[in-house]
């Protein structure tokens, strides 16, 4: 093996779906044959030019890629340090990065002859993206969404219904993303013959973490070229918010072997990363365990029972994190930090006021970390932050948090 492969951070996962000790295939026997079939299909598609031609055609004409890399001039001036670029994935059709991945999985599902698509969703962005692509291809779509999230992301629930999807509110557990994923897995075990499970993040059993990463890596590939064009060099720091970790992995992956590039993932700190566990910072506040088909860092108690996280952002409200992030954390290639609800709300408002961009609450977490570090950095330090979603879905939540009465204007 040549040295450059030995030293690469981009060769994972291994044939067992492991990134170091993380990942794997921890699923019931009923699902195993299907997961192996999916892996074979994906391995085939990866090197199949017609597959990628179809992806690029849809990315260009349906999603609106490439998304711009935008120099946030007023934000940069306001913070007075590093030069800040935003990767504008919030401009994608359906308003977030989620559709990058959904297209890939739905094309695979069609190749496998599956006629029914199921998905879990937290913020509703993955559900909307899945419902959208299913409408486009005439596939039946069922979306599992925690009952609590159905409430706080009401606009997205209606969107999914308009798009013809069936939205099933999940009441088990505390009714958030983890519980939606449990029920999606239960549906899949029951309807394994005709159903494809379209997972919305870089989690789940192998090959999902790798496959979703590869579909999202278009973000980082574009950003790298765009930064070359704008500044003639690589960025110094790249930053993204982490729920399960798909928008972050998508931005990070093409930069993993550019070891001069600092990589920072931002977890949801909720009310603060403390012993009360009112947060979703799996890497900062959790330890390794096995859930939803993979080994990764999890919020759990001493008995290995999974804890419900807490975050103002429904899209970050997940007690785990993709296994590749767990590995990048352990080997130290990426750094993981946390941002509280209040800090994210402040960043949300700053983006609106200075850049005319209403961000989703998820990337507001990433922006809040940019606000922390940019002032201390030199003016020629280049930052790319993934603006992975727009905030339309969050205006009610933010209004409530800021004490606005909707309709009282």
């Amino acid at each position: 093996m040549p040295d450059d492969i030995l030293n690469s951070f981009m060769t994972g996962p291994d044939e067992n779906g492991r990134f170091g000790d993380f990942g794997g295939r921890f699923v019931s026997e009923t699902l195993m044959p299907l997961i192996l079939e999916l892996e074979a299909q994906y391995e085939h598609a990866k090197t199949d030019e017609t597959f990628w031609a179809q992806m690029h055609d849809l990315w260009t004409h349906y999603v609106g890629r490439p998304s711009p890399l935008y120099y946030a001039e007023r934000l940069t001036q306001h913070l007075g340090g590093a030069k800040i670029y935003l990767k504008r994935d919030e401009l994608n059709h359906t308003g977030a990065h989620k559709i990058n991945n959904v297209l890939g999985q739905i094309i695979l599902a069609r190749r496998m002859g599956k006629t029914r698509i199921i998905a879990e969703t937290g913020a509703g962005q993955h559900g909307v993206a899945t419902a959208t692509v299913c409408a486009k291809f005439g596939l039946k779509c069922v979306v599992y969404m925690g009952a609590h999230d159905v409430e706080r992301q009401a606009p997205n629930v209606f969107r999914m219904k308009l798009l013809g999807a069936e939205v099933i509110p999940v009441t088990s557990g505390r009714g958030t993303l983890k519980d939606a994923m449990n029920d999606a897995l239960r549906d899949w075990v029951t309807n394994v013959h005709d159903t494809f499970y379209c997972i919305g993040t870089v989690a789940g059993p192998h090959p999902y973490p790798a496959m979703v990463r590869d579909f999202q890596a278009i973000i980082g590939k574009e950003a790298k070229e765009q930064m070359q064009a704008a500044e003639g060099r690589l960025p110094d720091t790249i930053i993204a918010a982490i729920g399960g970790g798909s928008n972050a992995m998508g931005l990070f992956f093409p930069f993993l072997d550019d070891t001069d590039v600092n990589i920072i993932g931002v977890e949801a700190g909720g009310k603060g990363v403390n012993s009360k566990m009112e947060h979703c910072a799996s890497l900062t506040g959790g330890r390794p365990g096995v859930l939803h088909g993979n080994r990764t860092y999890l919020l759990q108690d001493d008995d290995g029972q999974i804890l419900e996280g807490f975050s103002i952002s429904a899209g970050l409200d997940y007690p785990g994190i993709g296994p590749e992030h767990a590995w990048l954390h352990e080997i130290g290639r990426a750094q993981y930090v946390s941002i509280t609800d209040l800090e994210a709300l402040e960043a949300f408002q700053l983006s609106c006021e200075l850049e005319g961009i209403i961000p989703a609450l998820e990337p507001s977490h990433a922006l809040a970390h940019v606000m922390k570090i940019a002032p201390e950095l030199p003016k020629d330090h280049l930052i790319i932050m993934n603006m992975c979603g727009r905030g339309d879905k969050d205006i009610f939540t933010v209004a409530r948090a800021l004490g606005f009465e909707m309709g009282s204007f």
């Binding site: 295939r25 921890f26 075990v189 013959h193 365990g289 290995g304």
Partner: protein, 263 residues
């Protein structure tokens, strides 16, 4: 020879099918659960399947999900589940106990420590739903080395090509899941199950026990007739959820055991 092997040898000599009962450890609380578990052998139960409560039981329907929640809310832990086995063993050293659940509580305790404690508590077998053969090095191989049977689930999606892999490190018995689905859902049909059991038996000498979707004494009889025995879980757990007394729960268990033993 483990207690499981001895039990099947005994049933074989008597010309009887096995009746396996599933209850969730600590449901609705530790004391009631221990009382029910202690009464199972007298109610005709040949093998006890003791559920390990877990917050995220991905292969279980609402009945067993709620049982796990009740147990956890009442303070059940993996340690207390082992404690139920230890207490049970004080008066019964013959009835096999199989722990059934998910990997994380075991992984969290540490596999080596768990196996040592399980052996000491008199646990005979493990059914861990989210450990397929692809993950055998995690727990299956170490359990075998510790003298604990690792009982694998075979399902309707386990085709002939995959079956040898599923059977390879399985010991004690094979658990055939009669439906594609979660516990407590569809009803098992003897006509569907019989050829599947035959298919598995053509590849292994281990007993084949059928579970998922068996709820009544009649179904227990029909399913046991085409296999080496049958498992009932959700239907028993529902009685516990209803607040039935241990005496009533055990009377229901006896009716199921009688059904299976008529086969």
């Amino acid at each position: 020879m483990t207690r499981i092997d001895a039990k099947f040898a005994e049933l074989h000599t008597a010309g009887k099918k096995a009746f396996v009962a599933y209850v969730m450890a600590g449901d609705p609380n530790y004391n009631t659960s221990l009382e029910i578990v202690r009464g199972l052998p007298a109610a005709g139960v040949d093998i006890i399947e003791l559920g390990i409560p877990f917050t995220d039981p991905m292969a279980d329907g609402p009945t067993i999900q709620l049982a796990g929640q009740r147990a956890l809310e009442a303070g059940q832990t993996l340690e207390k589940t082992l404690q139920i086995a230890r207490e049970f063993r004080k008066t019964d050293d013959a009835t096999p106990i199989v722990l059934m659940g998910y990997y994380n509580p075991i992984y969290s305790r540490g596999v080596d420590r768990f196996l040592k404690d399980a052996v000491a508590a008199g646990i005979d077998g493990l059914i861990i739903v989210d450990l397929p053969p692809e993950e055998d090095s995690e727990l299956c191989i170490p359990a075998k080395a510790a003298g604990i049977n690792f009982i694998r689930l075979a399902t309707p999606t386990t085709d002939d090509k995959r079956l040898p892999k599923v059977l390879q490190n399985t010991s004690g018995f094979v658990y055939y899941v009669s439906i594609t689905g979660i516990t407590g859902a569809a009803a098992a049909q003897a006509v569907d199950v019989a050829p599947e059991v035959a298919r598995i038996k053509s590849k292994t000498d281990l007993p084949v026990i059928v579970g998922f979707g068996v709820r009544t004494p009649d179904t227990a009889q029909e399913i046991a007739a085409v296999a080496d025995g049958t498992v009932v879980g959700s239907a028993i757990v529902e009685r516990i959820a209803n607040g039935d007394s241990p005496v009533d729960v055990l009377a229901f268990v006896k009716s199921l055991a009688d059904g299976a033993h008529r086969a």
